[in-house]
């Protein structure tokens, strides 16, 4: 099915897209049909800068298991980082 479920957040950072690095302002997270991954549904993340147009996008499509592993790895990395650096 098309789930259309979407989480939208504002972010600060940079991403590397087809035209090189650009500043990121938004991210959307949704579980839906992938464009490329060979799975019926995937956890999809778009890192975006809508102010620079639709092509300012870095996209990933992950299996649910991979997405959870990524989320754990991000949290673990931040936990292990000295607070003085964050």
């Amino acid at each position: 099915m098309c789930t259309y479920l979407t989480e939208k957040i504002q972010i600060t950072g940079s991403g590397k897209g087809s035209a090189g690095w650009f500043a990121l302002s938004d991210a959307t997270v949704y579980f839906d049909h992938p464009q490329h991954a060979q799975a019926e549904h995937t956890l999809n993340i778009d890192f975006l800068n809508p102010g620079q147009g639709p092509s300012a996008r870095v996209a990933v499509e992950l299996t649910a298991e991979s997405a959870r592993a990524l989320a754990r790895a991000i949290e673990a990395t931040l936990e292990a980082t000295p607070a003085s650096l964050i």
């Binding site: 099915m1 098309c2 789930t3 259309y4 479920l5 979407t6 939208k8 087809s18 959307t28 949704y30 049909h33 464009q35 490329h36 060979q38 799975a39 019926e40 778009d46 975006l48 809508p50 147009g53 639709p54 092509s55 996008r57 996209a59």
Partner: protein
């Protein structure tokens, strides 16, 4: 060479007089007047696989025209980037869709060699939009390939800004072919049965097929949802249906 075809990107006048991109595939010299089909792309956008579908219609003797429904938000963007942008905005407004299909149908009717008969076919979100177009415009045939949210609204919390359109069924202007997967959740078989019941009650000509072992997007050859048996039979139904209502 009766099977020669030509295909490429053109500009057409869509809803509100907007110039939008569209992909035209048509027979070059079929030897007799040909019918036409407006192809409505799926939610992932105006992509290479749907352009291939348009060429398939041309190879079978029809002129096919696929408007880029996401052109306004993302001119020149790749289909997946455009789809992501429109998805985040909640999809294509119904009124605009109808205007774009109307523009495509007018373009097709004006082609040299056209017999004046125009059908519509759509996949995924385009399935609902095909039904919407057929209830809003005078067309000769319509095909709904697993279109959701005709009967039921999207679940709460979804950004998709569409509403059920079963109330438009009384205005359906042409025969409707529905091709669905028994394992699909949107539309679920219970919903397509309800649609069939409503069309029967209204005396509207329709023909629905629901394939066991198939879910959503079983025509999509580049996705794991592809189901060869359902797709092969579905294509056969499409040729019979359009042959009956669109061919000269």
């Amino acid at each position: 060479m009766k099977d020669a075809l030509m295909a490429g990107t053109i500009s057409i006048t869509g809803h509100g007089g907007d110039e939008i991109e569209a992909y035209l595939a048509r027979p070059v010299d079929p030897g007799s007047p040909f019918g036409s089909v407006v192809v409505i792309h799926h939610m992932p956008g105006y992509d290479a696989e749907t352009q291939e579908i348009a060429r398939r219609f041309a190879a079978n003797g029809y002129a096919a025209l696929m408007p880029n429904l996401y052109y306004r938000e993302a001119p020149g963007a790749s289909p997946d980037d455009a789809a992501a942008a429109v998805r985040a905005l909640g999809g294509v407004p119904d009124e605009r869709l109808v205007g774009d299909v109307a523009g495509a149908a007018a373009h097709l009717r004006a082609l040299d060699g056209a017999n004046g008969k125009v059908g519509v076919i759509g996949y995924c979100s385009g399935g609902r939009q095909s039904f919407l177009a057929a209830c809003s415009l005078q067309l000769e045939a319509a095909v709904d390939c697993y279109g959701a949210f005709i009967i039921s609204p999207p679940p709460e919390g979804m950004p998709l800004k569409v509403q059920p359109i079963i109330g438009l069924a009384k205005d359906l202007s042409c025969p409707l072919l529905g091709l669905f997967g028994a394992d699909d959740k949107n539309p679920a078989p219970a919903e397509t049965q309800e649609l069939a019941k409503e069309l029967s009650a209204l005396g509207k000509t329709h023909e629905f097929h629901t394939y066991d072992g198939a879910g959503h997007a079983f025509f999509a050859v580049n996705r794991p949802s592809y189901r060869v048996e359902a797709a092969n039979d579905g294509w056969q139904r499409i040729w019979e249906f359009f042959g009956r209502y669109l061919a000269s």
